[in-house]
Symmetry: C2
Subunit: 148 residues, 2 copies
C-alpha cells in the first residue's frame, strides 16, 4: 500500500475523504436486505428507540428535514405498525411518537444487517488498519455532530 497521507493538505484530505464517504454511504444504503425500509425510516425508528418518545418537530430537527417531510415518513411507519402517535400530556398541539414493539424489533434487525455488512468489509484489514479506522471514526463522528 502506498504511503501517502503524511502531512496532507486539508483540501486534498477533504477531497479524498469526501469521495470515500460518498461511495461508502451509497454501498451502505444498498446493504438493506430485510424489512423493506428506507434509510430515513430506519434512522427515525432508531432515533425513537433510543430516545423513547419524541414529537414530530424534534424528529424533523434531528433528521434535518422539514416538518411535512417528517409527517410523511411517520405516516409510512405508522401504516406498517412500527410507530404509534399519542397525545402530548400538556400541549394539545404536539404529538408524541414512539416505536411499537414491532418497530423496535425492526431496528435491531436492521442494525445487525448493516453492521454485518461493514464487519465483513473490515474483516480483511490488519489490526493496524482497524485501529486507524477506529480513531478516525471517533474524529468523524465528532465532526458530523458539530453545529447541532
Amino acid at each position: 500500500m502506498a504511503v501517502v497521507s503524511k502531512r496532507m493538505t486539508p483540501a486534498a484530505l477533504a477531497a479524498m475523504l469526501g469521495d470515500a464517504i460518498t461511495r461508502l454511504g451509497r454501498r451502505q444504503r444498498q446493504a438493506r436486505p430485510v424489512g423493506e425500509l428506507t434509510q430515513n425510516q430506519i434512522s427515525v425508528l432508531a432515533g425513537l428507540e433510543l430516545a423513547g418518545a419524541l414529537t414530530p418537530r424534534e424528529l424533523a430537527d434531528a433528521e434535518r428535514v422539514q416538518p411535512p417531510t417528517m409527517t410523511k415518513i411517520l405516516a409510512r411507519l405508522e401504516e406498517r405498525g412500527l410507530i404509534q402517535r399519542s397525545p402530548h400530556p400538556t400541549d394539545g398541539r404536539q404529538v408524541l411518537v414512539s416505536a411499537t414493539p414491532a418497530g423496535r424489533h425492526v431496528v435491531v434487525e436492521q442494525r445487525r444487517a448493516k453492521d454485518e455488512w461493514l464487519t465483513r468489509m473490515l474483516a480483511d484489514l490488519t489490526a493496524d488498519e482497524r485501529q486507524i479506522l477506529g480513531q478516525a471514526a471517533e474524529i468523524l463522528r465528532r465532526i458530523a455532530r458539530e453545529g447541532d
Copy 2:
C-alpha cells in the same frame, strides 16, 4: 478526548464507522449551495468529466443504478445543457454521453463547494488527527471500491 479504540472489535468498529458515515454523508449532501444539482447528477457529471464519454449502461453500472433510472438522470442533465448524447460509432443501439463545457464547469464548481465544506470542518483538527483521517480515507476508499 477519550482514548478508546485500541483493539476494538470489528462489530463495534463497524457500528461506529457506520454511524459516522451516515451522518457525514447527510451533512455532505446538504452542503449543496450552487447549481441546484442533486448528488446523483453531480456524480454522473463528475464521472463523465473523468472518463470523457460513456454509454448510459456504463453509467448505470458505475452508479449502481438501473438503466431507466439513468435515463431519467441523463434527461434532466440534458435539459440543463450539461451533457450531450451522440451516436455510437460502431453500435447503433448504444449512445455516447459526454459533458458539455457548461457541464464540466459545474463539476469543478460543485467539487470546490463540497471540498470547502469539508475543509472547513477539518480546519479545527490537529495535525495528528488529520494524519489519521488521511490514512483512514485511503483504507475506506479501498473498501468502498471492493467488489466492483
